[in-house]
Symmetry: C2
Subunit: 90 residues, 2 copies
Amino acid sequence: MPTIVVEVMPKAELLDPQGKAVLGALTRLGQSQFSSVRVGKRFELTVDGEVTDAVLAEVKTLADEMLSNSVIEDVVGIHVVSTEPAGASV
Amino acid sequence: MPTIVVEVMPKAELLDPQGKAVLGALTRLGQSQFSSVRVGKRFELTVDGEVTDAVLAEVKTLADEMLSNSVIEDVVGIHVVSTEPAGASV
């Protein structure tokens, strides 16, 4: 069954405490080649049946209204991936 | 500055309570075309300077050891994206 991936990130202009914490940990580990880290969410929606334009439009609406908080987050990507959910043991 | 995206998902064979909660909400909203939802993390690491093979190898190690919990999560993707972090206001 096809899987649709929705990627949500905090708005770039907002402070990202989680990202700052990861960046601090990387710096303490001596990893100084990173200037910033941002942490967002990745949703995998497995669809029963075909992924039609209507389904994709529906997912876009759901992404904006339900899977992200439009005040502090942006939906940065929606794409269809292989039929097997990522990391599925085959 | 180039950005490296690291995608981490819960292991497929494990229960994903967050995913179940989202699926339940979708079903209550009448969205019955989804058979499963899984929720993971998406990291954006902005790199100072070039993304060399050495930097990518380093990020792979960091992804496995720091950005994910290898007991319950899989690193499902590491890729370099445009120089501008996603959603950056230009």
